[in-house]
């Protein structure tokens, strides 16, 4: 008779529990806005209850129908999109999409946006009152029409004002998804921290473009689009780490090119306490569940009993 193998992480296995931005998660793996629809599209591919949480498509006060095609194009290890923030609007979300989400067994964050300051506040207030919504994620990568189309999220002052106004009317956890199209990501995160945001999601897509040399035309109808996928992971890691290193006291949800459990672990080391899987949901629609398992396996293999031990433990000294 041989002795039973000793499980260093304990019989229960490692704890993957995460606390981020005012929400307790079963595990730190979520799915990112715009890559997971309203959840139901993936129902039957894997149990959504295996996720830490999901973030819905961005919701605006009224429904929007989006941009002309072509809206997406593949690039080297990535893709560009210019969907145009198409969504069902607050009322459509509340009446048609939310009933399923209430039963899906995972935390639900609703991504939201407006095209004016008042729309943001109105949209956040209405969504924040809905039963079954665990938190809100503010998308600040929309053009501010009154400010000449510059994204709301690019100027720390504008962003801070917007966060403060939304905070006043939203009692639920409020996260802000930062744009990487900036020269100072820490200033943006600071504006969020100082104005009452509970967490920052880092990063949204990076503005880019692609050209068809044969037709001499842009590959997207809107010329510019947002780059996502593994191509952007190094930039996302850098920004997560910069924010973590600045010790702003605001938790970070890491996003950008995560394809595996090891990718997720890199984000935890850089300082993220949760992560979101985005474009990978298109490449392999069951991958978010696999990534949860791979994170757990990493913890087992490295004798980590609690995932929270990993967060922000990047070794930078020789």
């Amino acid at each position: 008779m041989t002795a039973a193998p000793i499980d260093i992480a304990g019989a229960e296995g490692p704890s993957l529990k995460a606390h981020c931005g005012g929400i307790d998660f079963r595990n730190p793996v979520m799915t990112a806005s715009g890559t997971f629809g309203y959840g139901k599209e993936f129902d039957g591919l894997f149990p959504l209850s295996s996720l830490g949480g999901l973030v819905t498509k961005g919701i605006s006060p009224q429904p929007r129908f989006g941009n002309p095609a072509p809206r997406i194009c593949e690039t080297a290890s990535g893709m560009l999109n210019s969907i145009g923030l198409e969504n069902v609007g607050v009322e459509g979300f509340a009446t048609v999409k939310l009933p399923f989400l209430r039963t899906c067994g995972t935390k639900v964050l609703v991504n939201f946006f407006g095209t004016t300051f008042d729309e943001y506040v109105d949209c956040g207030e209405r969504l924040g009152k809905l039963e079954g919504v665990d938190g809100l994620e503010m998308n600040v990568s929309c053009p501010n029409i009154k400010a000449g189309g510059i994204e709301f999220g690019r100027e720390p002052k504008v962003l801070g004002d917007l966060v403060r106004a939304c905070r006043k009317v939203i009692a639920k956890p409020l996260w802000v998804k930062l744009t990487p199209n900036t020269s100072d990501i820490v200033a943006l995160a600071r504006a969020c921290a100082e104005n009452g945001a509970d967490a920052v999601s880092v990063i949204n897509t990076i503005t880019g473009m692609a050209i068809d040399a044969i037709t001499r035309r842009p590959r997207l109808a809107t010329i510019f689009g947002g780059l996502s996928g593994p191509a952007i992971k190094p930039i996302a890691l850098r920004m997560v780490y910069q924010i973590h290193r600045a010790r702003l006291g605001i938790p970070i949800c890491g996003i950008g090119g995560i394809q595996s459990g090891l990718d997720a672990v890199e984000f935890f080391l850089a300082g993220a306490s949760t992560v979101q899987v985005g474009t990978q949901n298109f490449i392999d629609p069951a991958s978010a569940e696999r990534i949860v398992r791979e994170v757990e396996e990493f913890c087992r293999q490295n004798a980590i009993s609690d995932l929270r031990e990993l967060v922000g433990t990047l070794k930078t000294k020789p």
């Binding site: 591919l45 009224q62 429904p63 072509p70 809206r71 080297a76 048609v96």
Partner: protein, 292 residues
């Protein structure tokens, strides 16, 4: 653009799609870049209908990144599924080189289908080049149900080398009307000229006969087909292609301008659409263009 209220918002229907690993069991080159991939282990595609598609991805690392939408050519109860493709881009070139035993990830069946064959209609199946698969599958369905005389295929390409699987289609007993731009086989000119001739022929033979047109091929061809069918009040169904990342209505990449709402989605509303619901550009696809 914004619209008021939640009117028209529908919960996504429950799908019968499955996500699974299949194995390539045969890769048959047809010349000129065309090839038929036969996959095994596709039992969950056995009930697929003509027009439906799959998202397919090989073990390609990170480049190309996205799975490829591919129309089904034929499915069988034993788990076999055939695809027809032409090596054009990087994804299809990789598939062209895939050897038997290669494992691929499959999500499907996806999308809607052409209407079923019925004894009361004569269906004109219009295929342009690599747009053949859903029409081939429709003919196969009609043949299996003993209604192959209720359809005919009108198939066009640049040259005779772009017309493939003719033996298989004739073997079903399917009437084949061909057109090539260089005149190397069939009518010299575009497939749309042949379609006009076939419509005239059928209406001359029986003015009261119910005709339907089902088409798949290049976008300009589809618009031309719709413009030919419309004045005759012939019901016209088009299978549309558009760039897509997910195949399940999530990425919203495959938007197609429509009449019933600003956009419809090739993956989740289609790929088969009634031509009358699509916004057909007024200047596009003159049917006589390129014909003698």
């Amino acid at each position: 653009m914004a619209q008021n209220g939640s009117k028209g918002v529908k919960e996504s229907p429950k799908r019968k799609m499955r996500y699974f690993e299949a194995r390539i069991i045969e890769n048959r080159a047809l010349g000129n870049g065309y090839f038929v991939l036969r996959m095994g282990g596709c039992d969950s595609l056995a009930q697929s209908r003509p027009g439906q598609f799959i998202m397919l991805r090989g073990d390609w690392g990170r480049d190309p990144l996205l799975p490829r939408p591919v129309s089904l050519l034929s499915v069988a109860p034993d788990g076999r599924a055939d695809l027809l493709a032409k090596a054009i881009g990087r994804g299809t070139r990789l598939l062209e080189m895939a050897s038997p035993g290669t494992r691929v990830a499959v999500l499907g069946p996806l999308g809607n289908a052409f209407p079923e064959p019925t004894p009361g209609s004569l269906d004109l199946l219009v295929a342009g080049g690599v747009g053949l698969p859903p029409l081939f599958m429709q003919a196969e369905l009609a043949s299996r149900r003993g209604m192959v005389d209720r359809c005919e295929i009108i198939y066009g390409g640049r040259t005779s080398r772009d017309l493939v699987l003719l033996g298989e289609m004739r073997g079903m007993g399917l009437s084949t009307c061909l057109a090539t731009e260089d005149g190397s086989v069939g009518r010299r000119g575009r497939v749309t000229a042949e379609l006009e001739a076939r419509i005239d022929h059928h209406l001359a033979a029986n003015r009261h006969q119910k005709l339907r047109v089902f088409a798949c091929g290049p976008r300009e061809m589809l618009w031309a087909v719709a413009r030919i069918a419309e004045p005759h009040a012939i019901e016209c169904f088009l299978s549309m292609e558009e760039q897509m990342a997910c195949g399940i209505g999530v990425c919203l990449g495959c938007a197609i301008p429509a009449r019933s709402r600003p956009f419809r989605y090739a993956c989740s509303d289609g790929p088969v659409f009634l031509a009358s619901d699509l916004v057909i550009p007024p200047t596009a696809g003159h049917p006589a263009e390129g014909t003698p």
